[in-house]
Amino acid sequence: MDDERKEPQSGLTRRGFLKGVGGGLAGTAVLSTGVLTAPEEAQAAGKVLGPGKVPVALKVNGKPMKVEVEPRVTLLSALRDHLDLTGAKLVCDRGECGGCTVLLDGRPVYACMMLAVDAQGKEITTVEGLAKGDRLDPVQAAFVQHDALMCGFCTPGLVMSVRGLLNRNPNPTMDDVKRACAGNLCRCGTYPKVFEAALAAAKMQKGGA
């Protein structure tokens, strides 16, 4: 079960996050706004970033990308609103639905629950980065073939969750698949076809049917 959980794999723990907030409150009084701070340097010096924009370097789908955003900007907003990578969706905005799932170093995370500044130095893969040109990833191909999508709004998130599962477990059982998809909500009711597609994709990438 443990490796199915989608926690930001940034080294952030709940306790660490709370400690950070405490420091932030103490530090705000001495901050001047609107100054760009080099985030890594600032972090190293124990300084608090923002509230003005800071440069953020992200590696998305194998390409280095730079954005200047306020430190409060989530990874999801950086991708969608600043890099025009709109595949990941904001649906619940609070880590309940998985519509924003992307891979961080190959593992699924909720991009709405993570700050862009914390995703630096990680390999970020979005749904746009799976296909090689026109050649779909086996997970994507299986989703299309098995009609594992209806309105399609939850689909990028589910594709990434299944991709994440197959990255760490190339031979999943039906129960593995269900657990891997348990953090993604779909309103149209594609789940049974998603399960079919996930198992078919596992077979496909082993060179089966």
Binding site: T86, K89, V91, C151, G152, P156, C188, G189, P192, V194
Partner: protein, 709 residues
Amino acid sequence: MAVAWGKPEERYLTGHDAPRVDGAAKVTGKARYAYDINLPGLLYGKILRSPHPHATVKSVNLAKAKAHPGVKAALDFEKKTVRYAGEEVAAVAAVSPDVAEEALRLIEVEYERLPHVVDEEEAQKPEAPKIHQDGNVRPRKDDPQIRGGDPDPVFADPGTVWTEGTYRTQVQTHSSLETHGLVAKWEGDQLTVWTSTQGVFGVRDDLSKFFNVPAASVHAICEVMGGGFGSKFGAGVEGTAAARLAKEAGAPVKLMLSRHEEHLCVGNRPSSVQRIKIGATKDGRLVAFHSKVYGTGGIAGGAGVPLPYVYESIPNVKTEHTDVRINAGSSRAMRAPGHPQAAFGMCSAMDELAEKLGMDLLELCRKNESTQNAIRLKQYEIGAERIGWGRRNKVPGAGPGPRKRGIGLGFCKWGGGGGKGTSAEVVINPDGTVESKCGVQDIGTGIRTIVGMIAAEELGLQLKDVKALVGDTVLPPGTGSGGSRTSPSAAPAVKLAAASAKAKLFEKLAPALGVTPDQLVAKDGKIGVAGDASKVFDWKSACAQIGSVPISGQSEWAEGLSGSGVAGAQFAEVEVDVETGAVRVVKVVAVQDCGLVLNRLTAVSQVNGGVIQGISWALLEDRIMDRPTGLMVNPNMEDYKISGALEMPEFDVVVMDMPERGVIGLGEPPVIPTAGAVANAIYNAVGVRFRELPITPDKVLTALMQKQA
């Protein structure tokens, strides 16, 4: 030339499995929803909503918000009274979503609170706060209605066996994953909107009326959309607000609601409290029915339920209905409006009556099924066999514990007919490319694929050879996608348009082949003379003969290719853990007709989806209103539960193909019978009747303890 669906063996696309034509776009993130539209200089709109369930708005001061450097436009909805927590008060457009949020906090609103009521029973009391001047209780016109004779003397007859129960269904929110909203961009008097809608023409006309500009000056686009389920027809307050803000700011504005707003403000399935009394002769012939129902659609909107349901031809029927207003967001159409509620009440009542009669429920249903409805009888036969109806507990609750199994039945009916108001155009270009155009919307059902596949098949081509275009007001006008009307309206129009284009192409080609047009056939990507293999053009060289102007075939929907009226039956097997109260649906057998099956792959998906929403409504979903504060306490996706991967049962879906009936819609019927089937299965498992949805573990445990006591 009469156009007809060919024989099943001749149809190589319709009736088969076709992966969606927009599947690749959706799995790669390339599909652009309204929510995904980014434009240069785009501003973000947000709406300030009343935090109070009922209040007079004394004043609204936008000055501080407007003074914020990131705010580019602000507006006041000029409300005098707000009637539910969430009603629109003001709106802003700003350079980022965060700044817009900040700006909302700078708007100063002075409210004078008024007493509120959010409980439909309380709202009917004479001392309840009045939501509208004419009161909270709105009986149906001509209420009560009596059909046939008065049922009361029949119930009093000692020869009548009857049962009575009160069945309650909760408010359900649509919970579409893409929220309501649009992106609005003005260029002079021309307005373009990218909108998440079930009806681009409806959105266009709303905006054209609102701004008093010609309809032709508004362009509404909905390439793909993230679910609507009945809640997304007009432009909505959020849509007109986005366009107002864009106009004021002189820049495009994106205004998409938050999840919180989505739960509160843009529709829901109304509640129902159904007191049902139903009686039969001792041999199981239904003779008397009386229902007294009320429900709430919030501050407006009806809460009607079609009772008696399915078994309508009871000789003595009396129905009473009242809509009740409360301080909550208005109901809107939601997937088969009224029907799932009525089906839960009726399926439960019939199950109770069957037990009292000492009959099997299926036998009672069969006995009262009109002989014309051979389809439902067939569905009962198929479903009973596949679920193993004989495995049902003869004595409810008698199975071994602690996880007790049971099997139940639910039934439904729906219209789903096509109609006038939908047109299509099929264009054959000189380079051989083909476009099939119809201004309906793909709300996730797969109509885009159907619009492509029908044209392709008529022209002897493959699906990939045709570009299907839907969801745009530049296309031939189409129906709003609701009522399960899209396929039966669009399919005939496309078929006829393609036939017309084909006829025009044949006219061009016939002289070159030295034949008359009626001797030509389009097959396997070729056009040739029937029975003469030497006289043939491949598709590309055939189209090269067209000349410089493409061929256009156009048609409106016409009679003859679509039908109306479906039945439907579902059988559910559940497992109830009597120690935890948890209900798990183990298996659902869904047997559904829809006339001619167009795309078997997406048809099965529709049925899966209906069943899943039905399970979700039966066991999980509930809009919970807090009486003291008048607020919804669970306006998110964690506390408002919808079914997830771990709740999925085994599915056995049977979509009956009945080509002779023409195309009939399939979107709505599969959501209807599920809750009734699940509730009846729970009774069969534990021998305790649950008359209130959702059937949550707390209710199950409480009821089981009461039974023991």
